[in-house]
């Protein structure tokens, strides 16, 4: 895959609103026939980044190349290669589904028989061929999402931007959307996919960047990112803990040979630790906490994944 050309190159992208920096020096590249994910919690700067890439917002600094064209300096050429599926629906609810697709096809220069053929193809692809002449206002939420997706791909974009396309979508439609994204990737498109769902990123993305507070805090393939956890589990405990008590607990457990124990986050009511083979050490951990005067009301043990990596990197949950 590394031999495929990079169709989307973001270099030092920064977007500021006054003193507030929404996107801070973000750089990444995405290749043809791959899905690149931007994973981060709400408000992390994913949508701002995608709005800059789509030409909706002018970047404060940095450069964005879409299929070799600069989105700021050569916006018209760059946009010809772009397809955008915005987070919120962007369809005419009072225009039949087929007319929506034709309208957006014409917006990208498709005409005549080519347009008709492509619209028929997309209608089948998004599963709305039998509802083509109906108004979207009569559709379910999932069907509207699929039409929204169809409007973004009707002109066969080489770079497809998907901004949290599964927000508010039922599981069945979500599965359908995943299949549509995979089909676009398999057809050779470069897909930029933003989400705050770890499982979506793990399933779809060939490479991804984890973003928080406008900054990329980790980047790589899913495998590479997981390896940063070094197969350590994340143990989250709720109860009553004191600062002094926790230091005592960490010291006691280290003395008992748990050398890779790391305290990720601590608040008076909750505690997050990372360590390998956590389940084997649970009795020792409980004993140490009780001995230090603390108490445990709830325990959660998670094996290494992107969400635990985010927790490790930021000290907070991905969905906070």
């Amino acid at each position: 895959m590394d031999k495929e050309p990079a169709l989307l190159v973001v270099d030092g992208l920064t977007k500021q609103y006054g003193d507030f920096t929404a996107v801070d020096n973000v750089s990444f590249s995405a290749r043809q026939g791959s899905v690149f994910g931007l994973l981060g919690p709400n408000g992390a700067g994913k949508s701002t980044a995608i709005n800059c890439i789509s030409g909706l917002l002018p970047p404060t600094s940095g450069a964005i190349q879409v299929a070799g064209a600069d989105i700021v300096k050569d916006g018209k050429r760059a946009k010809r290669s772009l397809g955008v599926v915005p987070q919120e629906l962007a369809i005419y609810e009072d225009l039949p589904a087929v007319e929506n697709l034709k309208y957006w096809g014409k917006a990208y220069g498709l005409r005549g028989a080519d347009l008709d053929a492509r619209v028929s193809e997309v209608l089948g692809h998004i599963g709305l061929a039998d509802r083509a002449k109906e108004l979207p206002k009569t559709f379910s939420g999932g069907m509207k999402r699929r039409l929204n997706f169809g409007c973004g791909i009707v002109h066969k974009p080489t770079v497809l931007l998907l901004d949290e396309p599964t927000v508010g979508v039922d599981p069945q439609s979500r599965q359908r959307l995943f299949e549509m994204v995979e089909a676009e990737r398999d057809a050779g498109a470069c897909v930029l996919y933003t989400t705050h769902y770890m499982e979506e990123a793990e399933r779809l993305c060939d490479a991804l960047a984890i973003i928080d507070h406008g900054k990329i805090i980790a980047t790589g393939t899913v495998g590479e990112l997981k390896s940063q956890l070094a197969a350590r589990d994340v143990l989250q405990l709720s109860g009553e803990f004191t600062d002094a008590g926790i230091k005592q607990v960490v010291a006691a457990l280290t003395d008992r040979g748990i050398s890779d124990l790391e305290l990720i986050a601590f608040e008076p009511g909750s505690l997050s630790l990372t360590l390998s083979s956590a389940s084997q050490h649970l009795p020792a951990i409980f004993e140490a906490i009780t001995s230090s005067g603390g108490s445990i009301t709830e325990t959660s043990l998670r094996s290494p994944n992107l969400e635990t990596l985010f927790l490790l990197l930021t000290g907070k949950e991905l969905r906070e």
Binding site: G75, R80, A90, Y92, K106, Y108, G109
Partner: protein, 410 residues
Amino acid sequence: MGFILASIRKDLARWSRSPLELLLWLGIPLIIGGLITAMAGGGNGAGPNGTLLIHDQDESLISGFVAGAYGQGPLAEFLTVDQVSLEEGTKRINAGEASGFLIIPAGFAAAFLDEEPVTLTLKTNPSQTILPAIIEDVTEILLDAGFYAQAMFADEIDRIRNSDTDAVPNDIFAADMAVRVQGKVDTISPLLFPPAFDITIVEPPPTEPQPDLGLLFVPGLVLMAVLFSAQGLSADFWAEREAGILQRLISAPGQLNRFIAGKALAAAIIIGALGGITLIIGFFYNSVPLSKLPPSLLWITVSGVGLFAWFAALQMLFPNRKSANLLTTILLFPLLMMGGSFFPLEALPDWIAAIGRLSPNGFVASRLAIELKAESAWSFDLNGWLIVIAMMASGLALCAWRLHAGFARR
């Protein structure tokens, strides 16, 4: 060009699914126009019509003359005379079914011939004003005429009175009476026709010809339909913004200006159609030559797109759809009032009319009025065209600026 056509088709298809709004934009001016016409009594409709009930207890030749006088000449055009019984007449006048009820008492003819006092009873309908007054005036005129006839034909009346009234008069008597009456009529005719006094008719100073009342309202009502359409159509920018369409459009290569052009042309078609219907109705109702229809239609369509563009630009300056709609709705009614849609500019005080002609719709309506009243078609002046084209171009440019300057992002 392809995307412009697609945008026109898209807007026309969408608006065709909102027939109620289109009907309101067209219907309100037509209803108001109909009401104004009805109130002004314009057109070729029938005039006031009333009923005079007469109960003739005398049933003589003279009482018959009196009853018959109400059904003669111009009176007959708006007054129906019904001979009724006393009971029926009382019942109908009390029920308000007639304008007046005249009771001619028994012995009326004898009293008239004997020059004795007699009372005619006239009951009028208090819920009516014009027709009862006319009946009263006519009755007084008839009584005055009777007085003068008595004085003039005293000898003949005396001879009739002294004749055997129960028997049929013989031919010699009738012929003699006819010759005597004719002789007196011939004697006084030179005095009566023409009258033996001079009448100097003083012509009022020449004034401007009285305008056709119905025609005065046409430009204002047409502009009302245009304004309603322009304001309603302009709100679509907000609808498309909230639907995320404009945001998606920014990601498309260089289509915003074509999108605006498409919207303006779709607005032109809708405004032209609705304004055209009101125009055609006004033309037929006021018998305006159809040769003036094409220039009038072109004029209101170009002006309508200008109004649409400015309404849209104003709406796009506001932070949310509600306040934008509120502003243009608030703006709409003073414009309608000042611009001659409710009261023709010609009927407004001069200073208000002068301000009204400066309002966009007042300007358009006043130029349309000139065209409708002109001797020939295409009387619009070049300055007028330049002004409305400038209004349209500046409004559309402002719309484009707002779309590019951030309005498209939701």
